[in-house]
Symmetry: C2
Subunit: 268 residues, 2 copies
């Protein structure tokens, strides 16, 4: 009798009440993934007054959502049936590994502990009814990403990249990884696409443009939006009020809304 | 009889011929760690005509040194005694996981494989005589960092961070981690500290200044250098000739040399 290896996707179960799980991932760190995830979640929630959005910060190594959403030092409550209650900020239901562990302590976690934590965030949080659950993943193509794809049906992945080829190489790896676990790519958000010179309005190409557009064309993938670099984005994040909320009329907020609309269309 | 747990540092052995192993690490990705490691290694090698420097790219998830040093698609030779020969570029002896694996393939490696790869890079590469071996580590505080500290005596760690608090939080975790494995901190390099406006020479604070200076003062740690952001740095990296080599008279190259000098002093 032939041996059939266990199929890890057998564990896959939807989260009751959650319609679409969107993975926000990047190949490389520092491309603004958490900033994009946060602003995207906010932009999605502003699509209509009824749209309900959750935001799960699964960036175990550098959880930044508590700070970006002005929710530092919050402790989620635990209900009678042992469920973690998400914190609500700006209309978003948020949960973060940062609520559970100390901000300053070195996190030297190994694979199995990461799996367990992910499981809890997906199963033991009282998400309630959500149209979209945006999951901010750690950069790269490691255990957490695989774990997510194995445990829940992911509606699609958004890849965040900066323009230069060194970032694109890693973005390709992320795209490749999602393909292997049969998660569709919703598209790529090009972050820090350029900066407008505060002195004269001219474009400054902070990072040289690589071959992203040609690559996306060849792969028939969509660029969901180009987000300009603006020091206000980082400043808003540090202050705990993302730019979609703090400067809703800025070109940057508009670029996030454009990405959100494209995603809504794709998931219809 | 009491049980004595095995001490993982018992495995620690120097690399024959290598005087100082310098770990370049960051809490967060995308702060320019590999750019700093590369330019720092070059600046160290230019301290005197005799100074010999090696550069090990241990960033398993996103090896970027082959591209940054114009050594894509190189295959290291293997000597008769089964040692890997480092590639020489701009006077540096370099070795990278990128020479071994395909650039586009998704690297979904787990802990034990990472340990094994690190071991090979430290033991099975014919480094020869080196004054400094600069190790470019992945961002964060994971298996590779611990593995390095357990296997070889690390002379000190350089932490790369950008100015804002969200980056500083992660830098603190990295500093904390090195403390736990008794590796001294040589200092912090503040990258992307500001940008000079190409239109009028005014400073643009790309990322808001956080509490780094106060933190370093309190911890009695040195800021080795502030590196300005300049699109030429990224452009030089993409072109395979780091800025210390391509624009040796630029303020950015000067800032890298300043960091190298500070490190040489500390290791005397």
């Amino acid at each position: 009798m032939a041996f059939t290896p266990p199929n890890p996707f057998d564990q896959q179960k939807p989260i009751p009440g959650v319609k679409h799980i969107i993975a926000v991932s990047s190949g490389k760190g520092g491309v603004g993934k958490s900033t994009v995830a946060t602003n995207l979640a906010l932009a999605l929630s502003k699509q209509s007054p009824e749209t309900k959005v959750g935001l799960l910060d699964a960036d175990i190594y550098g959880p930044s959502l508590p700070r970006m959403l002005g929710a530092l030092n919050q402790k989620p409550e635990i209900s009678k049936d042992s469920k973690l209650q998400p914190i609500t900020r700006l209309g978003l239901k948020i949960m973060s590994i940062g609520f559970i562990i100390e901000e300053n302590s070195a996190v030297v976690w190994r694979g199995p502990m990461l799996f367990k934590a992910m499981d809890q965030f997906l199963r033991d949080v009282q998400w309630g009814d959500l149209d979209y659950l945006v999951v901010d993943l750690p950069p790269g193509t490691g255990d957490i990403q695989l774990s997510l794809a194995q445990k829940v049906p992911v509606a699609g992945a958004v890849i965040v990249s900066t323009p230069q080829n060194i970032a694109l190489i890693d973005a390709k790896k992320a795209i490749d990884m999602w393909g292997r676990v049969a998660v569709p790519i919703l598209g790529v958000i090009e972050n820090m696409a350029y900066m407008l010179n505060p002195a004269n309005g001219e474009k400054i190409q902070l990072y040289p443009k690589g071959e992203m557009d040609q690559y996306l064309d060849a792969k028939k993938l969509q660029k969901l939006s180009e987000i300009p670099f603006n020091p206000s984005i980082s400043m808003s994040g540090e202050a705990g009020i993302p730019i979609v909320e703090s400067h809703p009329k800025s070109p940057e907020a508009e670029a996030f809304r454009k990405a959100a609309q494209a995603i809504v269309e794709k998931l219809k």
